[in-house]
Symmetry: C2
Subunit: 319 residues, 2 copies
Amino acid sequence: MEFRLIDRIRERTAQLREDVRLGIGDDAALLTVPLGQELAVAIDTLVGGVHFPHDTAPADIGWKALAVNLSDLAAMGAAPAWALLALTLPQVDPARVDGLAEGFAQLAREYGVALVGGDTTRGPFCLSVAVHGFVPPGQALTRAGACVGDAVFVTGTLGDAAGGLRLALGERPFDPADEAHRMLRARLDRPIPRVRAGLALRGFANACIDVSDGLLADLGHLCAASGVGVEIDADALPLSPASCTVFGEGPARELALAGGDDYELCFTVPPARIAAMQAALDGQGCRVTRIGRVVEGQGVSLAGGGPAPQRRGWDHFPG
Amino acid sequence: MEFRLIDRIRERTAQLREDVRLGIGDDAALLTVPLGQELAVAIDTLVGGVHFPHDTAPADIGWKALAVNLSDLAAMGAAPAWALLALTLPQVDPARVDGLAEGFAQLAREYGVALVGGDTTRGPFCLSVAVHGFVPPGQALTRAGACVGDAVFVTGTLGDAAGGLRLALGERPFDPADEAHRMLRARLDRPIPRVRAGLALRGFANACIDVSDGLLADLGHLCAASGVGVEIDADALPLSPASCTVFGEGPARELALAGGDDYELCFTVPPARIAAMQAALDGQGCRVTRIGRVVEGQGVSLAGGGPAPQRRGWDHFPG
């Protein structure tokens, strides 16, 4: 089925990458990985009504489909290079396709990502994106390197996207004239992958993960991969003024612990490297907050408060 | 959502590839492309009721999702290496997941393909697979190199999968005791990607494409990319005895011209290299048939019969 989506994105991302020997239009793309670089690859799917509310603007969906994948590369400390896009749509819909292409292309241009292949199919609305990035051997950030005594940091603020979802679902009436409401909804619809922060963390972070399912859930993955525990200071969690204003500080803290879709980076740093790490991240204009420490044991607990609530971070909402 | 699909495939494909530095389980996989090789990448989606009948066995679906992608690598003359799998399922269904994993893993083992990443999501049933392969620089087969005077060849037989689809849709009653019926259905459900033939064609074929949408449609793509025309001898098309027996020779020939999903390779070879090409393909146990020639002009025509019927190769069937 021909939606011309791939062409429309190609038209909007007409940039040459010398490492693309043959782009869209043949049975496969032909690509060159630079000498001395490893390839980092990831794939993620967005389903309408599961990963974004049905009323989400097509441009936001196109943006988000790429953003959640670039966030995976960011969490590895990899530099983005190429993407593949598989789109399934119930029918040809030029306005929707144009919007998807525009949002995808905006973010692709921002990070110099070339769309090198795609597939368009008739069926229920969903998008799968695969991304490829480069990282020098041995320098990738993984979930597995956290050491007892490391400090735990997070970029940006947490819980905003979950707040935006509450507004999108009407649990709290969305007021488009309210700047805080708009900011929270934008955090849900247009997540900013922390690509530059991930690159800056090479050599400083012992372990790293992106917060997609929620802090508790994702830190749990990091703990399991590293064979350690983490103790969080809930009072230290970085909350946005918007979230505190709209929901109040207590509920905002709950959203920060358990809400998903923030796409911030959570990482651990040995004490001796904290100052240098902070200088490097400051250079990227990226605020980081110390939220806890790596301890012996397993799983995530709250400082002074026993084990953290065992909630799933991100219960995808009904379609 | 946790279907354990990725784990189930990993358990079934426990093979080491030294080029996989970090496999499934982190935010991205880390991979090494061998020195002196380019990377070939492709992505394809299968949607239930669009790309396979709803009664298709899960193991066949898992197989086919990988097969149609390996066919893209075959058409480039690339050696398969890695795959990513994004699965969307309406609900957790262990029997279906086990079947999908088994079929996918069977084909992955056959070609030494490592599953290096994946994503499982709740939603309408579909699968997207991205594949990666290697090809020495300058040796990839593309759609663009066909020259006037080249002979046009195709591997195997054509029209069988389209015949299998007719049986699957009940246009002709399917008789499971009939060997010809079973063969045609198997061609639809378990396509064999022509990976070894694609590798053997390096250095012989000027242009190559895989027959996924139907011979007329796909040869049309090759003509457009190469800026040439192709004249087909319809009488020369390779038909299987099963297709001729079940449908009769005339309808079987129509299926061979317009039917999709065969995943044979169609390629052009300069006259001086035909003998060497045939020796190389014989060495792979792969039958090839000369079906026409590259001519000046554009588009596909039938020898002695004017332009070929302008039908779409593969009208996906209603869900």
